[in-house]
């Protein structure tokens, strides 16, 4: 049986663990530990390996949901992680000092994977920091020559995460009928 997966990535505190938790059929396997470096200024614990969740599909198959560690020093794992992935969900924290820089970093890091599949971007914490706006992100993306779906997302809200993944899937094939 094939292994299908969607990869969740983004900087520390963007809500990857929470987003996977929102839609996983199993309690997600978390690998959080007390943050001991730069991450400690943003939250008490951080993901040191990767998050994992599962969506059960009709017919008995499973969709695996993997979250990359937010800390850049784990980037050697990312290539391994994306192998066989059907798409990338990039979550960005709007309260970070320079979320555009975060966006560029992750889009460039996963450039080849995105070219082969697609990406949908969720901006979290917009209730804490309304700027930059979603339009501001689109302007930045235009400069990069891509037009992915980018939505305001509350990672705790299943409907938000669900819509973001739906956009990812429709980007792959607008003809899909769910």
């Amino acid at each position: 049986m094939s292994q299908y997966k969607i990869i969740f990535t983004g900087p520390v505190g963007a809500g990857k663990t929470t987003a996977i938790n929102s839609i996983s059929d199993l309690p997600p396997i978390k690998t959080d530990a007390s943050a001991s470096d730069m991450a400690k200024y943003r939250k008490a614990s951080t993901t040191v390996a990767l998050d994992y969740g599962v969506m059960n599909l009709p017919g008995g198959e499973k969709l695996h949901l993997y979250g990359t560690p937010g800390q850049e020093r784990f980037d050697f794992m990312w290539d391994i992680l994306v192998t066989g992935g059907i798409g990338l969900v990039l979550l960005l924290d709007n309260t970070r000092a320079d979320p555009f820089q975060d966006m560029r970093f992750f889009l460039e890091t996963f450039e080849r994977f995105i070219a082969d599949t697609t990406v949908a971007i969720g901006v979290t914490q917009m209730d804490l920091s309304a700027k930059p706006s979603i339009d501001d992100y689109h302007i930045q993306l235009r400069g990069m020559g891509i037009k992915p779906a980018i939505f305001a997302v509350d990672a705790r809200a299943k409907s938000d995460v669900s819509l973001l993944i739906q956009a990812l899937l429709y980007s792959l094939d607008p003809g899909l009928e769910g």
Partner: protein, 403 residues
């Protein structure tokens, strides 16, 4: 092997902490729980990474002992250990599962001849430790997340998902024009409307003025005033949704048009305390007002015979989601198509395309090409994804999972 009720207890050797965590999740996830990582004293099987320096040494030492437990060796090259089960790197799920199943069978054979005392207490202690540590992490998280909500966070209409309409509820919620069948090709030429005749047009105009001036403005309509805050991209209106829906569907240019005015807000009015639930984002407000004005029609500014394209994705998590809106957006972001081509290619009723275009146009997200060449290159079919069946199944699950 799914939901394995009796997983093989394995100990890991020669892997650093992070790799141990990854392997642990690999066994629980892709390997479908065929094995679970425990400490060495509780293990029924030993897994060695023979390519790491410590792994080589540990394996060598282990082989000196009187071995009762099966061994699985992970390595790039075939190891010279006849009794071990080898999994070649990079580790593949099926090969790992096969090796662990062989190890389990081997263990069963050993146990049949000389039962091994399992130290469940030790295992429980390890699990208990892990749980306690997780609990601590959760508690830490709760501590840091406990804070008083800001006013911005209390503006629930702004920060929560809007309504998602299905086909069944469309006409009841969006409305229709008596005597006009917008889905009848013979009536397409009449299936348009002029936003300026509706509340939509006045809201749009007030937004433009307010944004251009950068000042808070009030749209007076002889009805409840609409207050516009351009700096924070939000509006405040104290009416029920059903009232707004009814008002937005009326042609008011001939009746209330003369009463419409945009005025600056006095300092006292700006400072006035308002119900935070009544705040909405400007885009989300204009989007839904446009839906109700459209009633399934397209705006008159759109030439139905010319292709349109989408400049960017709408922020769908915060907008009223009409049927098939996401599919239409995904198609039009790829390139220009006429509205009827979109309807045909996606096999959806024209009213769903028209209402989407009305709202997307109101937000300035739609462009229209005017060159004849675009008509010639407009493709009839969509490139189907090779995983279409899988993607459809994921979609069906997601749609059943709306919160």
């Amino acid at each position: 092997m799914d939901n394995n009720s009796n997983p093989l207890k394995v100990a890991l050797h020669g892997l650093d902490e992070r790799s141990c965590k990854m392997m642990s999740m690999f066994l629980q996830g892709p390997c479908r729980g065929v094995a679970v990582v425990v400490n060495e004293s509780s293990a029924e099987c030993e897994i060695f990474d023979a390519d790491s320096i410590s792994g080589k040494e540990l394996l060598s030492n282990y082989l000196q002992k009187e071995i009762q437990k099966p061994i699985v060796i992970l390595s790039l090259n075939t190891p010279q250990v006849a009794s071990a089960f080898h999994v070649k790197k990079p580790v593949k799920t099926e090969e790992m599962i096969a090796a662990l199943q062989k190890a389990k069978k081997s263990l069963a054979a050993v146990v049949a001849h000389a039962p091994v005392n399992s130290s469940d207490n030790t295992t429980n202690a390890v699990i208990s430790d892990v749980q306690d540590s997780s609990k601590q992490v959760v508690e830490d998280k709760l501590t840091i997340k406990l804070h008083v909500k800001t006013d911005e966070q209390k503006k629930t209409s702004k920060h929560q998902a809007a309504m998602q309409l299905d086909e069944k509820g469309f006409v009841g919620f969006i409305g229709n024009v008596p005597g006009l069948d917008v889905n009848d090709p013979r009536q397409f030429s009449k299936a348009h409307y002029n936003p300026k005749e509706y509340f939509q047009g006045y809201v749009d105009s007030a937004f433009k003025v307010s944004r251009a001036k950068g000042h808070i403005r009030q749209l007076n309509s002889g009805w409840n005033p609409l207050i516009i805050f351009p700096q924070s991209d939000e509006i405040w209106l104290d009416v029920d949704e059903s009232q707004l829906r009814a008002f937005s569907g009326l042609t008011i240019s001939n009746t209330l048009g003369a009463k419409m005015s945009i005025t600056p807000l006095s300092v006292e009015s700006v400072a006035m305390e308002r119900s935070l639930e009544r705040y909405q984002s400007m885009d989300a407000f204009l989007w839904k007002v446009s839906c109700w004005a459209s009633k399934g029609r397209y705006p008159g500014s759109i030439d139905i015979n010319q292709p349109v394209f989408l400049k960017q994705w709408p922020n769908f998590t915060r907008l009223l989601l009409t049927p098939h809106a996401m599919r239409i957006a995904a198609l039009l972001i790829q390139g220009p198509r006429t509205l009827l081509n979109v309807s045909q290619v996606l096999n959806v009723k024209p009213q769903y395309v028209f209402v989407f275009i009305s709202s997307a146009s109101a937000l300035g997200l739609v462009g229209q090409t005017r060159r004849g060449a675009d008509l010639l290159v407009e493709p009839d079919e969509i490139k189907t994804n090779k995983n279409q069946s899988l993607l459809s199944r994921i979609l069906s699950v997601l749609r059943g999972k709306k919160a």
